[in-house]
């Protein structure tokens, strides 16, 4: 799972590196022709930088995202749910592995990416800074956060960097199972006893603002991303992806008789667009910058895992090769 929109570097034009115009033209022509860029190909410095940043943060999102759901594996009710949740969270960790590898093909070692995560230099999806309070939360996460992630990842899989696209294609196949599992779990709660129903409704109400935040700030305030669009690093605007998500899932939520905490949420039949109350974007930025309910906890857990595992990694140490092969 993953959310984008705030991940691009706001480097000032003065800092922008001047690339060789001939090589740049050749590179852009290649992208225009719909060809993929591969690790050994020439690429603008800024392209490499933005991609590393994007893929790395996606990878962090997968492994940090494993934490809130992971704490419910031990509490999942019954064999069927327990086995499915284990497999799901295992997939998420596997996604992290695939993505770190894809980012490594651009020249940044995994160790360094993890260090940047732990120091707070590198971010991860904001949604994981919120707690999964009940079993209902895990159901809502598995259905709707994964659904949002699929919208984002399917879009990104049409990008220009070969190893990232191939990783995303594999990831999306697995995500569709997560979505099914999440939907099934929500359906059982929504059609169950009053207690089960209340559990999932409360979770949905709690998670709606982070879900609305998921695709990032509205286009009118987002960082200028024209060049990234041209280079097929970014493929759709935040608002476009949010619209796509609302269009696919709000009707399904309502069908289950569940409600969403936004009285203004409706589809405008004339424009075909969804209207909604803007979520609190100040909160979004506060949470990104470390003030969310779980930022400290997530990093502390990750830090402890790194600390506790250091002796194992040291015992495996061998000379690192110069070049990282993409896993797919």
């Amino acid at each position: 799972m993953y959310g984008g929109g705030y991940i691009y570097d706001k480097s000032s034009p003065a800092e922008q590196h001047q690339d060789d115009p001939a090589k740049l033209a050749e590179f852009e022509a290649k992208i225009d022709r719909g060809e993929k860029i591969e690790p050994h190909d020439w690429m603008p410095r800024d392209y490499r930088k933005q991609l590393i940043r994007m893929i790395e943060q996606h990878a962090h999102s997968e492994i940090i995202g494993a934490l809130p759901e992971g704490t419910w594996i031990t509490r999942a009710p019954g064999f069927r749910r327990k086995l499915a949740l284990m497999a799901k969270v295992q997939d998420e960790v596997g996604h992290g592995q695939l993505l770190y590898n894809a980012a490594e093909t651009l020249g940044k070692p995994r160790e360094e990416m993890i260090n940047d995560l732990l120091s707070g230099k590198s971010k991860y999806s904001n949604v994981f800074n919120y707690p999964a309070k009940t079993w209902g939360d895990t159901a809502v996460i598995a259905w709707l956060i994964d659904a949002a992630a699929i919208v984002n990842q399917v879009t990104n899989s049409k990008g220009s960097y070969g190893p990232y696209c191939r990783a995303l294609e594999r990831i999306c196949q697995e995500e569709s199972f997560h979505l099914k599992y999440g939907h099934d779990t929500v359906v059982y709660l929504a059609t169950g006893t009053p207690t089960q129903r209340a559990m999932v409704q409360e979770a949905l109400t709690r998670w709606w603002p982070p879900i609305m935040h998921f695709f990032g700030p509205p286009d009118k305030v987002s960082v200028h991303t024209e060049k990234l669009m041209r280079w097929k690093v970014k493929l759709a605007s935040n608002d476009d992806m949010r619209q796509q998500f609302l269009n696919m899932y709000v009707p399904k939520i309502w069908e289950l008789g569940l409600t969403l905490p936004d009285p203004n949420l409706r589809k405008n039949d004339e424009t075909g667009q969804w209207e909604y109350t803007e979520p609190d974007w100040d909160e979004f930025f506060r949470v990104i910058n470390g003030e969310g309910p779980c930022n400290a906890e997530r990093l502390a857990v990750r830090n402890a895992a790194e600390e506790n595992g250091r002796w194992v990694r040291r015992a495996l140490m061998k000379p690192v090769g110069q070049y990282t092969q993409p896993l797919c």
Partner: protein, 258 residues
């Protein structure tokens, strides 16, 4: 197969419960590594093992349900109290460090592999069928454990020291796997299972060379006091909190589908 006599039934029931409970509890413990492993690859490996163990527990509880008249697997797993469980102490311990979890995985899975190899020829056909499937899966886990024992036992001073002390700590617990049941003779006589003592001997033969290859020293078995009691329902202080956590959601309403 002839109709099961009541003693015979009791013997099989007890036998299935202890094996299934081991799987359930160790599967639960292994799953606690999710998101916390020393490497992403090991997160994934421990999760695979956890899933397999849960799957084995489910298969064994299903035999109890279908052939011995016990309740359905979810009810059996999620509603019995601590005293009713028959798992050994080894599987109850918290995951500790990777050294402890890996050593437990090595010692337990090796025993498990040999156990199901023996059971593949059991006269109790439903169990034999499940055993043939399980032993194939565990083979890979044993290989995983052996590779890591060798790697960590001979890498750095620290890893060597950690693995040796984990082995010393784990051995008496592992011997508890083989606590004899009151039905050993009954099971052997009907060709259902050759016995815990026999399994223990085979196990010692298999673990000794791996331990030696890893550059570690096997503690003197005769000098150890095996951690018995689990098979009679006497458990460590770690089991009850695990059960409380495991059943937290299920207990809200054990009669409904989740």
């Amino acid at each position: 197969m002839e109709a099961l006599s009541s003693l015979h039934k009791e013997a099989i029931r007890e036998f299935l419960y202890k094996m299934a409970d081991d799987q359930l509890i160790l599967g639960h413990r292994n799953s606690e590594w999710t998101g916390l492993g020393p490497l992403l690859e090991e997160d994934i490996a421990f999760s695979s093992m956890a899933q397999d163990k849960l799957g084995h527990a489910l298969a064994l509880y299903t035999i109890l349900h279908e052939h011995l008249g016990e309740k359905d697997p979810d009810t059996i797993a999620f509603t019995r109290n601590e005293r009713e469980l028959r798992c050994c102490h080894l599987v109850e311990y918290p995951i500790g460090g990777y050294d402890f979890s890996l050593t437990r995985h090595f010692l337990f899975d090796t025993a498990e592999h040999l156990r199901f190899e023996m059971l593949a020829g059991s006269a109790f056909e439903p169990l034999a069928q499940v055993a043939r499937k399980i032993k194939g899966e565990i083979k890979y886990h044993v290989l995983h454990a052996q590779t890591w024992m060798k790697q960590l036992g001979s890498a750095t001073e620290e890893s060597k020291a950690r693995m040796q002390s984990a082995l010393n700590e784990t051995m008496p617990l592992a011997l508890g796997i083989f606590e004899a049941s009151p039905f050993e003779a009954e099971l052997a006589e009907h060709n259902i299972f050759a016995g815990e003592h026999e399994l223990r001997n085979r196990w010692l033969e298999v673990i000794a060379p791996t331990v030696a290859d890893a550059g570690l020293v096997l503690p003197d078995i005769d000098a150890l006091t095996p951690a018995y009691g689990g098979r009679q329902g006497y458990h460590t202080e770690y089991l009850q909190p695990l059960l409380t956590e495991m059943t937290e959601v299920f207990r809200i309403d054990p009669t409904v589908e989740w």
